[in-house]
Symmetry: C2
Subunit: 148 residues, 2 copies
């Protein structure tokens, strides 16, 4: 993972700096997925207290452009997650009750939509996907029922 990043970065005349390493390490070692820029900033600060928030933002943007991270625009703020080959297509289930996010890989290729009506779509190359389902998890439904 890191090796690939280093190679990609250096091929483009960019540098693999301690900051970039610290940021990707913080993300990779975090148990939590879907980290916000602020969270990544705080995590990275643990190993590199001098790092600036702007650097984090610039690095996250770079990593997204390189395909290392995927940016998710959520309600409160953007969140980032490691993007690996096998994870290219997966679904997110966000519980509106507790805010928990469940993640489910899609084993097979994306469902083919009907492209009859829209010519231009017939030749659309999908680079990346993000599917979100909003609803309520079992715990929250049970909690709801008990209240009523």
């Amino acid at each position: 993972m890191k090796q690939v990043a280093v190679k990609n970065i250096e091929e483009k005349g960019l540098r693999w700096t301690p900051q970039r390493q610290a940021i990707i390490s913080a993300i990779a070692n975090s148990e939590k997925k879907h980290l916000s820029a602020e969270e990544i900033y705080l995590l990275t600060k643990k190993t590199m207290p001098s790092i600036g928030l702007a650097t984090v933002y610039r690095t996250l943007e770079l990593f997204c452009a390189m395909g290392i991270l995927q940016k998710l625009n959520l309600q409160d703020a953007a969140r980032y997650e490691l993007l690996q080959k096998e994870e290219n297509a997966h679904c997110h289930y966000l519980c509106l009750g507790c805010g928990k996010i469940f993640e489910v890989p899609l084993q097979e290729e994306l469902p083919l939509p009907s492209t009859k009506n829209d010519e231009s779509l017939e030749d659309f190359t999908v680079v990346n996907s993000s599917c979100w389902h909003f609803g309520y998890c079992r715990n929250c439904k049970l909690r709801k029922e008990n209240k009523t």
Copy 2:
């Protein structure tokens, strides 16, 4: 559509005001989908010049809570679209080249993910879905090839 909204609103002790009517009309009559709050504000200003931006934001939030609108968190800003029964599940294809959004209804129910590994998901009730595919449309791919 409007009738349903009025009924829902008044049932909850809320009011169906000229502003709310103007906003929903602006959205419904717009050819463009996926309008930003700013765009909705400007559209509504045409029929009601005195309206304030804060009112638009508050109304959009209300309509989302009522299930009349769906909020889409995109890169630049949040966007809103009418949420109708038949449209409950649909895919968005966003071209990273030109930013155009193609929309494709999913005829059949959502693809069933593998829920083996995650117990809590087995009993997840989906209220609403939003699927996004990012990539390049034909025009942008052609433009790219011509450049190289």
